[in-house]
């Protein structure tokens, strides 16, 4: 039975800017289970990253969660048998102690731009050490009571930190980790930098890894290596992955479940296999059709979704996808806002084709 780690419940995120309010995320709900991978797909600017940042309680200004909650079932890192604590992340102080323990220590994040995600003036060893100093604890037996050991936890020392850093660099496949631990980011290639980011993220043994388009800026061959690495590491430690991407091919390999987003709305959610073989929402279908296929005649044009992403200040009435939708039903789609319904067990979709109207 899947055990929930993070529940995102009907989350709305607003950005109040000079020209009005942008609803960057408009009612998104999904659950990340322990040890499983969930894929969040959609075009650029559809709110996938914003949802992930809301889960870290680090929305960029002036964004705020205006509705909904993000529930984290927190297990003690030291003693898994202790009862779980329920934390509503949206209620936490963004610079408070608890969220800072969660960030990095329990939820780690890797980013889209490995080239500039590492502070240029510090060595990889220093950067990994920074995370270790915050989140990695070393158990020390301070005494024994009957058969139970009394444990205490202390911070890692400098030497230990260096050793762990070398070990992590080795784990993520960086050659000559003993030398690379003293390398500055500019001395590494893009793929190596993303490996270092992963090393930092995993060095503190988090429960969840949020991967925000981790391979977008990398070569295809490097991309495959990084994905393999993430899968391998996920198996060796029990870790959930929230995989954010616009690349359907990548998500098919990684995720068990897929959430499709469009203009801040969650339009479909189902098992990966179902999304690929029985897509329900016209947007999902259009996305799948726009994947280039090998063996297709070269004269044939690639399928693309017609029209443009609408201006966030002037969202279309009714269903936000209707101006671009191939199954547009005049008089319905441009008037009625579709509801998010479960059309089959565990297959949710937001489309009027599946509603009686």
């Amino acid at each position: 039975m899947a055990e929930p780690l993070l529940e995102i419940k009907d989350v709305h995120v607003e950005f109040e800017v000079r020209d009005g309010i942008v609803h960057a995320v408009d009612g998104v709900s999904y659950t990340v289970n322990r040890g499983e991978t969930i894929g969040i797909i959609g075009e650029s600017g559809c709110g996938k990253s914003v949802t992930a940042k809301a889960a870290m309680q680090m929305l960029p200004k002036p964004g705020k969660v205006s509705q909904g909650e993000i529930i984290y079932h927190r297990r003690s890192k030291f003693d898994p048998s202790k009862p779980q604590e329920v934390v509503n992340i949206t209620q936490l102080d963004p610079d408070g102690e608890l969220i800072r323990h969660i960030r990095g220590g329990e939820f780690a994040m890797i980013f889209q731009e490995p080239m500039s995600s590492l502070t240029p003036v510090y060595t990889t060893g220093t950067l990994i050490g920074e995370a270790l100093a915050l989140h990695r604890w070393v158990p020390v037996t301070v005494g024994e009571q009957m058969s139970n050991k009394i444990m205490q936890y202390r911070h890692v020392t400098k030497e230990e930190s260096r050793e762990i850093a070398i070990e992590m660099l080795q784990k993520v496949g960086i050659p000559k980790p003993h030398e690379r631990v003293d390398a500055y980011p500019h001395q590494l290639s893009g793929g190596q930098r993303q490996r270092v980011m992963i090393a930092i993220a995993l060095s503190c043994e988090p429960f969840m890894l949020i991967a925000d388009e981790p391979t977008t800026a990398l070569d295809v061959s490097i991309e495959a290596q990084i994905l393999d690495l993430m899968r391998e590491l996920q198996q060796s430690v029990e870790m959930s992955i929230m995989f954010i991407t616009h690349n359907l091919g990548v998500v098919a390999e990684m995720a068990k479940e897929i959430v499709v987003m469009y203009m801040g709305k969650q339009v479909e959610k189902a098992d990966t296999v179902k999304v690929f073989y029985e897509p329900k929402h016209p947007y999902t279908r259009a996305l799948l059709q726009s994947i280039p296929k090998v063996g297709r005649r070269t004269s044939e044009r690639l399928a693309s979704i017609k029209g443009m992403v609408p201006d966030p200040f002037h969202l279309p009435s009714g269903c936000v996808f209707h101006p671009r939708c191939p199954s547009f039903m005049p008089g319905k789609c441009d008037v009625i806002k579709p509801k998010y319904i479960e059309v089959e067990p565990d297959h949710w979709v937001r489309c009027l084709l599946y509603e009686d109207v």
């Binding site: 960030r103 220590g105 780690a108 994040m109 502070t119 240029p120 500019h186």
Partner: protein, 328 residues
Amino acid sequence: MLSYIARRILYMLIMIILVSFVSFLIIELPPGDYLTIKLQQLQSVGDRSALLRVDEYRARYKLDQPVLVRYWNWITNFVKGDFGEAFEFERPVREIIGQRALMSVILALSSITIVWLLAIPIGVYSATHQYSLGDQIVTTLSFLGLGMPGFLLALLVLFFAMMVLKVEVGGLFSREFQDAPWSFAKVIDLLKHIWIPALISSVTGTAGLVRIMRGNLLETLGQPFVEAARARGLKNSVVTWKHAVRVAINPLIVILTSEALPSIVAGDALVATVLNLPTVGPLFVSALTSQDMFLAGTILVFIVLMTMVGSLVGDLMLAALDPRIRLD
């Protein structure tokens, strides 16, 4: 790295020789410089001792020799520490500058310290609180500071102190300490006086540096590594100072060394003139107007020297601070 430093020092030497030659030519170029006038005066007196002194000057500065010989004479003496005579004061240049150099250095260093102590925290605040009321106030004030010339501010302060506070501002010492030998009481007296000129001459610098710091930091705060540092669980203040400021401040190091070092020699001459400060700046201005050639030339060479040493030190500090530009 060592060969780079050696190369830089070599270029510096060549540059200094060129600059010193050009400044020597400029010193010599206009008719009616101090030495010529002096010789004419002595000749018109016409008595034996006056004529003897004319011959002495001729021999000392090799006046009947070609330019290159005169230049060589000047520059070799310069290297030996003999900068020639300040004719207006009838004393060696070395002595005249020496008296004021200490005050110049003290004033420049205190003004640089004020600039950095104020500008960095204000700039950081202004960037981290972008568009807040505090940032708006800082921005307005810094534009005012940038726009107001230092000497005007000095005049305003003088006026305000005289008319409203009825105290005397200006100079670096009270009257009783003016010519007194150095003592603890004199140092205290100096500290009592120096903060006003130091503050005035740091206004423009502070305003400029606040703007640069704010701009650099805003750009850095938008970089992904700042977000990545926050996502690692660091405190906001640690993210700001250890990651963002640490990267944003690097370009400012060059400003510190390449602008501050020359200002040690001849800081803001106008402010110093208005406030009647015994520093090198006003001396340089008066030497230029009275064409007191050896005095002006000496100060000019020192300014150039400081500028070049400053930019070299700046580059080396930058290399030490920022691994990306380190030369292997």
